[in-house]
Symmetry: C2
Subunit: 345 residues, 2 copies
């Protein structure tokens, strides 16, 4: 039996979409408890809308919510009874095996660092998530946890991302590339150029060089590393453009009468496109590098996205992702140390 | 009569698409000479494919080409008879009123700085171009000329972009925003946060705060400033996603027999979508901040894109964009200086 704590109050469509997703997950997956963290009255009212007979959906009281526009560190320090803090403390004490939130990402990171703690040897936790490509998915990190990073942080992102891809995708030697403004060696800003040199010397990863943003959607790399500022710009630009293109096409198709008739027949195809591009089944991004499992779902998560975020947390726990990454990081640290020794000799 | 020098050898589809674009432009626009810079034999062979009676398309010999994968500064220094160097020298000597190239962007910047020179008072020239939005277009700079910049460079980009928008769009007080990972004040990496503070204090611009990449396509700002690394990632991600979505939708529509029938009827609508998203009529981005007019067209430019890049150069010359920006920069520099004085008092 696994217990997943869920932030019932975080996200654009909280609490109804979150509680609905919890119900979906409790129904869909075996041996699972979903603990709903938040205002008990509000959660109770939402639960009454569902048939939850036989489902394990306990409520854990938390009286505060960290809003999307709050400064993460200050909010986590002052709102000590917020859903983010309460959920993280459950993970820390081993009362929950993971915490899932669609709330303030920066807040989740700050609460995670303060109340769950970093994994041994990790400088900066990073947000890792799958980006849909023509071949399946590419893991991107950092998707937005750290706006400013140093080259050695990106080096650790590469090691963590590589281990995560092995565990999640079952790829033995996942290819790792760094996001840059040109594919040729030597292209990039100062951060990319310095990180590139470190990545070339990092044992245990399959570093394949730079990648331009235009080559990510084709599935050229298993893992793409970048700072959280650039990662955020990349992911949001792609999401928005995809959504906008679908809207523009639907609008154009609807415009003329003859096309409307065509559109009716083509409706199934458009629905399939939406399915293909729908990111809700990807669930959530993991805040990798903490001593416990934190899954951050998209702010605009619907119940399906929440269910999948819970699935991501459940699978990561079953596969002992954190244990594997901890082992890998320690092995890599000693390899990096001896590689550094070799260079000095 | 205006003389536009055109790099006949630069671009993915050079020389045929470039020469074809030159012929289109010479036919479409009045009082124009398009000087084709490159290998005379190659250009002559291309010109023979067209009916150029009455058109002014002289050839200017240049024996070398700077390839896409060459290091810009070294290439410009060593290939002194390259199309980029020859074209820039024509602008410097006043033999041409502008130079247009679809070749190596970094090379064009390096050749521009070395052989045309910076505009008085400009720290860094930036690549400015229109990004298609639901409302029309937003000007983005820097689209990729400077991978690393300082806050004061971004401040100058804002002043240049604002003056350019006034001249091109006829907007009196164009709104200027800075690309960030969150819309709230205080969001951003260190560069954005520092630049934000400068922008707030910059007289003569209508600074409206941060903008997230997801809000650019809706047309929230007239001008968006960013470093060239982030600008490049943003533009390429949007372009690629838009192209890919169109491909995915076409593929899905073609898949089933019933949908194929629908697709035939909806064909006109899809063609309209392609028209709406087609960036070739935007022509090119201007390397703003040089003492002469340089227009950089997309590497994959077709003849239409080349024609429009020539149009952009012609209009910028007719409207004396450079003169207006030079005046504006000088006025702004004195305002910035007195604003700084005020702060000191």
């Amino acid at each position: 039996m696994i217990n997943i704590a869920l932030d019932a109050m975080g996200g654009d469509h909280a609490p109804h979409a979150i509680v609905a997703g919890a119900v979906e997950a409790a129904r869909a997956y075996d041996n699972i408890i979903v603990s709903l963290v938040g205002n008990p009255d509000v959660i109770q009212a939402e639960l009454k809308k569902h048939d939850i007979a036989g489902l394990k959906l306990p409520i854990v009281a938390a009286s505060e919510v960290i809003e999307m526009d709050e400064k993460p560190v200050i909010a986590v320090r002052t709102k000590t009874d917020s859903t983010l803090v309460v959920g993280c403390k459950m993970v820390k004490r081993g009362e929950a095996q993971a915490f899932v939130s669609a709330g303030n990402t920066g807040g989740a990171l700050a609460a995670g660092i303060m109340h769950v703690g970093r994994m041994r040897g990790i400088l900066r936790p990073a947000l890792i998530g799958p980006f849909p490509t023509l071949k399946g998915a590419t893991l991107i990190l950092d998707m937005g946890a750290n706006a400013d990073v140093r080259p050695e942080h990106i080096q650790q992102f590469a090691v963590m991302g590589s281990l995560y891809a092995q565990a999640i995708f079952g790829v033995e030697q996942p290819s790792v590339r760094i996001l840059s403004n040109g594919e040729e060696t030597g292209k990039g800003n100062q951060l990319v150029i310095a990180a590139y040199k470190l990545l070339e010397q990092t044992p245990g990863i399959n570093f394949a060089g730079n990648i331009e943003s235009k080559d990510i959607p084709t599935g050229l790399a298993d893992v793409v590393v970048t700072d959280g500022f650039t990662g955020n710009i990349f992911v949001k630009t792609a999401e928005t453009t995809a959504r906008l293109m679908t809207a523009v096409i639907t609008e154009e198709v609807k415009k003329s009468v003859i096309a409307t008739f065509g559109a009716l027949l083509a409706k199934k195809s458009l629905a399939r496109v939406r399915d293909r591009m729908d990111d809700s089944h990807y669930g959530g991004a993991v805040l990798l590098g903490l001593a416990g499992l934190l899954v951050v779902a998209h702010g605009r998560s619907n119940p399906t996205a929440i269910r999948h975020a819970i699935r991501v947390a459940k699978q990561a726990n079953e596969q002992d992702i954190l244990g594997k990454i901890q082992q890998g990081i320690e092995a890599s640290a000693s390899l990096i140390a001896s590689a550094a020794d070799d260079v000095e000799i």
